[in-house]
């Protein structure tokens, strides 16, 4: 079966003077047309880097050191800069975290929308503006005609993110990569924006890769989920199943740490320890120092990423490999 | 004292310095210049201020390695017959003295003003900063030129020349204190809200003690960072003033005055009178700037741009 986007064994390294550091250590996942997938993990796990790696926009000194990113039959990691330019913002769009920082403060909204269209199609300014207005209406910005001539600082945070979403959608891309799109917004606005994003992706049949650390949001919006830890995917599968029946000890720890299931006044469930930084990832399974199921093999060998549970789930854990029902609630 | 030396030896500052060849070379050159200049009587072949040494018949001799040069005068002589090398070394000493003196003055003045304005705030801050801002809206060179012109007119040329070294220190010191004041004030306002200041207040220390013993040492990094540029500026300002005739007189020339007197003779071909003092001056300022760049980079990587 051929997917819209197939990431195979992707590796990303940072080239420092002291030597190369591995930020992403061979991850694989895929996305079909219109599918919504979540990429979750703590800060530093490598989620954002993955997002940038897909469109080959990692900041120096990072670079793709291995693996393939296959989109519509072509390996994006191997394409020239000029060819990639045609894909970015056109077939695959990206949304960043803080809308105030994402929009250029000295250019009008109209300019920033129209230029995206004009960079990828032969289209007059008037036509582009018409499309821009249509998209602004879709993201529910009131009186869009007046808005085109305004500057980013004249809008509130929520409105700005809507504009960014409109820019991302303006070229009708096949995939949107959203990197923590609501983290920088007020809690009350977060739900609105997330709903909007989900709605639009459904109605336009656009694929979504939602990068976030917020398990609650992911459960609502996505169909599939991949959990990252220290540069690797440790578990992936249907969101519903993973969240309700996590197999990997780390995922289990994450779900248990959600406050929702506790009585008021009870202690929060923490996973002891901290995720390792890039420079001190332990040998074997990166999670082994913190894992309640840790055995000798875990300290020795990296666990393979294998399907379990009738091929509906992928897990990277020696203990689960031995007993697929281990840890089931 | 020994502990401080131990700490210094183990510090990042020394480590980073040893890694940076430019910094090490600059320091070596700077030290050479400083020693040569400050110990002028030891290093210079002749005493250029002693009239007995000056023979007008020797004037305008080119450097010793050229055709008309004489071995006795390594870099040639100036228009009055003085050995150029000796005059340059004494001039170097003047430039160093005035440069450092001026920076000490502007530093003292500026730091105290900045400390008071930053810590005490309110009306004092408003008034002091107003004065600083008004002076800052004029380029410092213009202020220095003006003050020296006024001094010259007020004191008369004779007295002005007699008092030139201290006067120049005062002039350049007065021209640039706002830079220190502003920097220190910003640093103090940053420190004011930190907990150690609150703690000191809670213990009941009086505010002068807090200001000078507690807050001031923590602002020294920013002071150090701008000090190197200021020394370079002061040396350049003195050279500019002397070049204009508002600085050191021709009888006790600094490098700037030498360049001035040499300039008139460049058309008749006596290029060495201008060139060699020029090279000395540029070298001095260059190594100060290079060391300053390195110091800025080491003390606060965020400040160092590009």
């Amino acid at each position: 079966m051929s997917h819209l986007l197939e990431v195979n064994d992707l590796e990303v390294k940072f080239g420092l003077r002291q030597g190369d550091l591995t930020a992403i250590n061979g991850i694989s996942f895929n996305l079909d047309k219109g599918e919504r997938m979540g990429l979750v993990g703590e800060s530093g796990a490598g989620k954002s880097v993955t997002g940038f790696a897909i469109i080959n926009l990692i900041s120096k000194p990072g670079f793709i050191s291995g693996g393939r990113v296959i989109f519509n039959g072509r390996d994006l990691a191997a394409l020239s800069e000029e060819t990639m330019r045609e894909i970015r913002g056109n077939h695959i769009s990206m949304i960043f975290q803080d809308p105030m920082m994402t929009l250029n403060p000295v250019l009008t909204i109209g300019t920033q929308m129209v230029e995206t269209l004009q960079a990828h199609r032969r289209i007059t300014r008037a036509e582009a503006e018409a499309i821009a207005l249509e998209k602004l209406k879709k993201v529910q910005i009131p009186s869009p005609e007046k808005r085109l001539a305004q500057y980013p600082h004249e809008f509130s945070g929520g409105m700005r993110q809507r504009i960014v979403i409109a820019i991302a959608l303006i070229t009708d891309p096949e995939i949107i990569i959203a990197d923590e799109p609501t983290t920088a917004l007020d809690v009350t606005i977060q739900a609105e924006i997330m709903d909007l994003l989900q709605q639009l992706c459904e109605s336009e049949d656009t694929g979504l890769i939602l990068i976030t650390h917020d398990l609650g949001v992911v459960s609502q919006v996505t169909e599939k989920i991949a959990v990252m830890y220290a540069g690797k995917i440790v578990e992936s599968g249907l969101t519903d199943r993973v969240v309700n029946d996590p197999k990997h000890p780390y995922t289990q720890g994450l779900i248990k740490a959600l406050p929702g299931s506790l009585q008021p006044g009870a202690r929060l469930n923490q996973i002891p320890g901290m995720m390792p930084t890039l420079t001190d990832i332990p040998p074997g399974c990166a999670f082994n120092p913190r894992c309640p199921l840790c055995e000798a093999i875990c300290r020795d060998q990296e666990p393979p990423f294998i399907p379990v549970d009738h091929m509906t789930r992928m897990v990277a854990c020696h203990m689960v490999k031995l007993d697929p029902n281990m840890g089931t609630r | 004292m020994n502990r401080t030396w131990q700490r210094f030896k183990a510090s990042y500052l020394l480590f980073s310095f040893k890694q940076d060849k430019t910094a090490m070379l600059s320091l070596a050159v700077l030290l050479t210049l400083l020693v040569t200049g400050l110990l002028a009587p030891v290093f210079s072949p002749y005493d250029p201020y002693d009239p007995a040494n000056i023979d007008i018949m020797n004037s305008e001799l080119p450097p010793s390695w050229t055709q008309d040069g004489e071995a006795a005068f390594l870099l040639g002589t100036d228009i009055q017959g003085r050995d150029l090398l000796s005059t340059m070394i004494y001039g170097l000493r003047l430039s160093i003295l005035i440069g450092c003196g001026a920076v000490v003055l502007q530093g003292l003045l500026g730091v105290v003003v900045g400390l008071l304005a930053g810590y005490l705030g309110g009306k004092i801050d408003a008034v002091l900063m107003r004065i600083a801002d008004i002076q800052l809206s004029f380029p410092y060179l213009m202020v220095a030129i003006f003050i020296s012109a006024i001094f010259q007119l007020a004191f008369g040329i004779g007295r002005y020349e007699d008092l030139s070294v201290p006067l120049l220190i005062v002039i350049i010191g007065l021209a640039e204190w706002p830079v220190y004041a502003r920097t220190v004030r910003a640093a103090v306002m940053g420190e004011k809200n930190k907990e150690y200041v609150e703690a000191a207040r809670v213990i009941g220390l009086n505010r002068w003690r807090i200001m000078f013993r507690h807050v001031l040492p923590n602002t020294m990094t920013s002071v150090l960072v701008i000090s190197t540029i200021q020394v370079a500026n002061a040396v350049m300002s003195e050279a500019a003033l002397s070049f204009l005739g508002l600085g050191m007189p021709v009888t006790k020339p600094s490098l700037g005055s030498l360049i001035r007197s040499g300039f008139e003779y460049i058309f008749s071909g006596s290029w060495w009178i201008t060139l060699f003092p020029g090279i000395f001056l540029v070298l001095l300022v260059l190594v100060i700037n290079l060391l300053g760049d390195w110091l800025r980079d080491v003390l606060n990587p965020k400040l160092y741009k590009g």
């Binding site: 469109i55 926009l57 900041s59 330019r85 894909i87 970015r88 913002g89 056109n90 769009s93 990206m94 960043f96 803080d98 920082m101 994402t102 929009l103 250029n104 403060p105 000295v106 250019l107 230029e115 995206t116 960079a119 990828h120 500057y151 600082h153 004249e154 960014v164 820019i167 | 008004i134 809206s137 004029f138 380029p139 060179l141 213009m142 030129i145 012109a149 006024i150 010259q152 007119l153 350049m236 050279a239 500019a240 070049f243 204009l244 005739g245 508002l246 700037g256 360049i259 300039f263 460049i266 290029w271 020029g278 001056l281 540029v282 300022v285 260059l286 290079l290 760049d293 741009k305 590009g306």
Partner: protein, 324 residues
């Protein structure tokens, strides 16, 4: 926006007031208006009479207000040496200096912008490293030395360019301009380059570092993610943001350039305001000195205010803040 402009103008007027006060104090304490008016051969008795008559024995404030009133009407006293109103003398010399500063400003803009932008986009290239090293050297060489070296190379040795004076000037309604004759322009080249040489290293470094900072921002990253052409990203997205802080610095530096015209005009025997100033010092012409102070002070204040207002107009975050 309107409030912003009003505030800036009020600040400007306040500074002018202080300058006039300082100028007047100098004139009062050190100057000798009697000598300015009637020369040196008057008896002490006649002096006293004259002092009373022109009101030199009035209280300080009265004298100051008189001075201020006259100044506002354009009367800044008489130049002792030139035997003409001070303002007239300055007005005659001003075009020379203004053209010099103008020429230097053009050189700075046309050289530092391309080099600064290029070194920001390709910071590790040999060209960038060379320019950075050269700029540290540039800051260490005083302007008069650069001028002398330039004269030596281009005038004395190569004989390509003239070494002093303004050359042929064309008079346009009182403004003697050197811009309209080939000879005039030849005379402008060396002085303008000398003057520009002080500011070039500074601007190249400033533009480079500002642009490098801008190129690291999220909105530039977003522009790349949108798939825009790199020329558009560099020259429209990044450049506009880089220019904003540079404009403010440029305004301040124009003021500084005026200070350095004193040095440059000396080397090139350029008959401008700076040269006039030094002559006035040599001749103890206090009125002219004070008049120069006032005029130059006014120029600084006006330039700084205009630059601030332009910045307010160009920067949308300030311009439109009022609309909300």
């Amino acid at each position: 926006m309107f409030a912003f402009v009003i505030r800036r103008i009020a600040q400007a007027l306040f500074v002018m007031l202080i300058i006039s006060l300082v100028g007047f104090s100098i004139k009062n304490k050190i100057g000798d208006p009697i000598r300015d008016l009637v020369g040196e051969r008057v008896t002490p008795a006649e002096r006293e009479l004259l002092r009373d008559k022109i009101g030199l024995n009035d209280p300080f404030i009265t004298q100051y207000l008189r001075f201020a009133k006259n100044a506002a009407q354009g009367d800044l006293g008489m130049s002792f040496f030139h035997k003409k109103p001070a303002l007239a003398v300055i007005a005659a010399k001003a075009p020379a200096t203004l053209e010099l500063v103008f020429g230097a400003a053009l050189i700075i803009i046309f050289i530092s912008l391309p080099i600064g932008v290029f070194s920001a986009i390709y910071p590790r290239s040999a060209f960038s490293r060379f320019t950075m090293a050269f700029s540290t050297l540039g800051v260490s060489v005083p302007v008069f030395l650069t001028a002398i070296v330039l004269i030596y190379i281009f005038s004395v040795e190569l004989n390509w360019l003239p070494s002093y004076g303004r050359g042929e000037t064309v008079s346009l309604g009182g403004w003697d301009s050197g811009l309209f004759t080939v000879d005039g322009i030849m005379h402008l080249i060396l002085p303008c380059f000398s003057l520009a040489s002080i500011m070039l290293p500074l601007f190249i470094r400033l533009i480079r570092s500002e642009m490098m900072e801008v190129l690291e921002t999220e909105y530039i990253k977003f522009a790349w993610a949108k798939g825009l052409h790199r020329k558009r990203i560099w020259f429209i997205h990044a450049f506009k943001n880089t220019l904003l802080p540079v404009i403010t610095v440029f305004g301040v530096q124009i003021g500084i350039m005026f200070a350095f015209t004193i040095l440059t005009e000396t080397v090139f025997q350029w008959q401008g305001m700076g040269f006039m100033f030094l002559e006035a010092v040599e001749r103890s012409d206090i009125s002219l000195l004070v008049a120069y102070l006032m005029v130059v002070g006014a120029i600084f204040v006006v330039v700084n205010t205009v630059v601030d207002i332009i910045y307010g107009l160009v920067n949308p975050t300030i311009r439109i803040a009022g609309r909300k």
